[in-house]
Amino acid sequence: MLFSEMNAKDTLKTTKQKMAKYQAEFLEQINAIEVDAHWFRRVFHTFAASFLFYYLLPDEEWINVIKIIVPIIIVFCMVVIEYRRLRGSLDHQRFFGLRSYEKKQPASYLYFGIAVLLLFLLFPQQIAIPCILCASFTDPIIGETRYHLGKKKAYAIGFIMSLLFFLITWYRADWWILILVSLVGAAGALIGETKKLRFVDDDFMIQMLPALLLLLLWQGFMAFGVNILPPTIILPI
């Protein structure tokens, strides 16, 4: 009796030790994945700044057609992939870097793609370029500094960064237009990033909100006969 009791205790002890070891290994693996996914997402954002190459493409008739068709096809493919993932035809685990809340809703890369597509097709490059730069750099910078410096400082840095992107893109405009546009654009980008909406991702809002605000501003001034838009900043090859 005593022998079997001892045996049971030993078994229980061994099991507990095994479970603790397994738990430690499991947590280590989760941490490894989290760290990796984190940088992966950041680099995906900064990579998107390469889309500015779009504006370097030559201004020829057949290339202009390609400039419209190719982005639409790419975004359409993304929509199909996301649809299949959400329906369960594609395994969620195959999509590296997705956040847990994206399991049951379209992933942020789709929102990012749609926003870039809309900017390319519907907005002049003077408005589209700083908005793409905000999504490419301001978003990851805010995300990174938020962990180290806290929300307020991260948002302040994000605002200054966005301001810089609008200043760079509109530097050929008159000084008062430059200041007005930079403040409106940077505020729009920051609000788009910070205000979390249930059905629309911040990667979409950080681009579309400043773009829409600047479009309204531009058209508003146009109604009074003032064109605030500076000359195009990236000239085709």
Partner: protein, 78 residues
């Protein structure tokens, strides 16, 4: 869990060259544009190309370095 980790490692190795090289190539194209059309001809119209080139290269490198480090760390763990 290990399967997922292997999968993500594989995915990252597929994407990593694209994510790292494309911005650098685009940055070089911008720089060449500025140099050949702006700097040589003495035209300031292409100054923005230089700005975007620098922005692309610096902005990407800031995040590329920790990204490459994280891949290497994960590879060592594997």
């Amino acid at each position: 869990m290990v399967t997922i980790q292997r999968l993500l490692l594989r995915l990252e190795f597929w994407f990593a060259p694209l994510l790292l090289l494309v911005p650098i190539i685009v940055s070089v194209v911008f720089l060449l544009e500025w140099y050949t059309k702006g700097f040589i001809n003495g035209s300031s119209e292409y100054d923005s190309e230089l700005l975007f080139s620098l922005l692309l290269i610096v902005g990407n490198l800031v995040f590329d370095i920790p990204f490459v480090r994280s891949i290497r760390t994960l590879k060592k763990k594997q």
